[in-house]
Symmetry: C2
Subunit: 442 residues, 2 copies
Amino acid sequence: MTTMWCEHGWLEDGPVWGVRLETDGSTITACETGVAPSEGDRILDGLVIPGMADCHSHTFHRALRGARETGSTFWSWRSTMYKIAGSLTPESYYDYARGVYAEMLAAGYTCLGEFHYVHHQSDGTPYVDPHAMDEALIAAAEDTGIRLTLLDTLYLSSGFGSPLQAEQLRFGDASVEEWIRRVDALGDAISLHPHARLGAAIHSVRAVGPDDAARVARWAVEAGAPLHVHVSEQVKENTDCERVFGMTPTRLLGEAGVWEANATAVHATHLSDADIAELGRHAVTVCLCPTTEADLGDGIGPARALRDAGAALSLGSDENVVIDPFEEIQSLERGERLTSQSREVFGANDLMRALCSDGYRSLGWSGGALEVGAPVDLVQLDLGSTRLAGVDLARVPLHARSEDVRRVWVDGREVVCEGRHRTVDSREPLERLGRQLRASTR
Amino acid sequence: MTTMWCEHGWLEDGPVWGVRLETDGSTITACETGVAPSEGDRILDGLVIPGMADCHSHTFHRALRGARETGSTFWSWRSTMYKIAGSLTPESYYDYARGVYAEMLAAGYTCLGEFHYVHHQSDGTPYVDPHAMDEALIAAAEDTGIRLTLLDTLYLSSGFGSPLQAEQLRFGDASVEEWIRRVDALGDAISLHPHARLGAAIHSVRAVGPDDAARVARWAVEAGAPLHVHVSEQVKENTDCERVFGMTPTRLLGEAGVWEANATAVHATHLSDADIAELGRHAVTVCLCPTTEADLGDGIGPARALRDAGAALSLGSDENVVIDPFEEIQSLERGERLTSQSREVFGANDLMRALCSDGYRSLGWSGGALEVGAPVDLVQLDLGSTRLAGVDLARVPLHARSEDVRRVWVDGREVVCEGRHRTVDSREPLERLGRQLRASTR
């Protein structure tokens, strides 16, 4: 048994003084509040918050952060991004992902949903080990200590039934049946890794037709696995979907039974009122990626309306142009204020729940809370920056930055100390491989 | 003569390797590029950028950063803010401003425009020394080393001719003539301070009628002083102005001759096409305050359209909920992307010009550039953070944070070292006085 005494701990209703956690090493076994430390307690000053979930990441997009030219539309950016995807190997992906995952941990993300679709060799042929790319990511997660849900993504079409383009071949499986065979085998392999878990993803209504989407949804329900899907990030997806199917992506996925699963709609930027009602009625989780949605010029999604309708929220770093959970929730709140021209749309508690427990749930884990039974996934914040001077404890998440993260534990293991990952130097692979991957875009 | 060799320096067209600056201590006297360091040069590794201008600040609003309750509208926030304004004394304002100015310098702001309207005692009676509040700010600037333009603000009405409300009395002068007498005397006093300068401000069309605005504009033109004015931050200002005067605030101020001065329109969030054309035709500077405009739910101003019409841009931290010049330009760019649903709206060079040389000009100073004749106002950035790993040098301002600021010089004097102000501890006054000032809001 180990015990940790937090000067302040973030509970469901916000910060509380004197939170004493007993653990069996990896799980919280007792939680007292308002108490002084006891002899032998590890003393954690500042504010301890639950580990945060990054529910939507494409790890390799990080290579485009600060790249000189990625074009003036989402679609031009995407074609640059495809060139990076095309140049990845299992070896370079492992090496690069270690750098990104260490950066995520140092920012306070303890649980990650990797929306993973770079499955095969560049021409679409499976690797000799058909799980080589999955294993690269699982190994990087294991090395760095981040909790991983590998959202294995079905990607069959370049758009509403058109065949995959050359640069998309490596994303594709021959059919949904092939995908099922592959992920079932992957599920057996992943069960050997206690900090990794399998989930399913439908890339989008562009890439997967309704019958195949329905098949994936049935698989996810039967497997008890989370199911994620990109929804209505760009207006063009909506207009194309209306043209081909006469309905919105949300409705199409609803008819395919996707919202019956433990489902997360990613982005959900351009929704009709009926879409919002449908996602709310099924208590779907909507994963917003505010820094990405701004960077890519997607637009501001209707987060408040979705929440009011009954949806849960979670956050994702997506293209990883920013890796900072606090910046995501601050951007979410600012977007709401800008569209509604009002203030205080979400409270800090709402936003922390989205980052922590609702995010964990959307990735198929329990946790993201300082409570009995939760894993010891913790983030200690240093409150000593000038930026936070005068900030009420209950408002800290609205003003914090990843720079304030001091220590991070996952399953009781201290992986970040003094703001740095204890074993992995992020910068080196991010710079070396970043240059190499970007060379492929010229 | 002192010489500084910058590994990389930010010039008009972006970063250049090997920039060697000769100075006479306070002014740049020679600037070579692409050269190796010479013996005796002070070596500055990383990236050196020009000092940045914060063109719109209400210093005391900083006390509301992280306050628990400030309401769900701009107007409810304003009434809380008035309580803070009401409790200021020359002593506490000096003390608090020292903390804020040291925070600004550590973030890389070297030049500040203080939009100053807390002139008199709470009941509106002038202090025995009628410049006591101005001198508090000038002394705080001198102590910390920030370059200050004190934008002395005329504030006569609570709204389109209505008398001042009780909590606004200390902002007001008896008449525009009284304001002119007061600022003329202040101009004589301020001329003793080499790093401070006088400018004029019209609070808004709400607070100053067109005849008085015209009188201030003439004063500014004759004095060669910059003139700033809040314009169309909230829709309500527009609708009230249309109702009373049958025209927009921009047009009203145009008819008063305001745009003939070295004028800066602050916010300019809600403009008509004709307003945009008018501000562009007069090459007015528009000071955007993106983090404030998001926090207060103002909206996203038409920055790209203004620039295309011929206006210059500058940035302001305004309510100081955020003090980070990089975050301001990143928020500006993100806002444009979100409204236009496109990408790469402004380049890093455009945004740096707005932060540096155009900002300096809008405050009545030359500078904000690494060039001969400019003051030695410099900011050295540390490029070693994980966040910046893989970021192209030419894109650093789009990904940097105030945390990356390592050293800052104003007029050749090194005021910030290792990210901290050399003589003033910001946290202490920000916490102690923040608590005290906020007590007045309960």
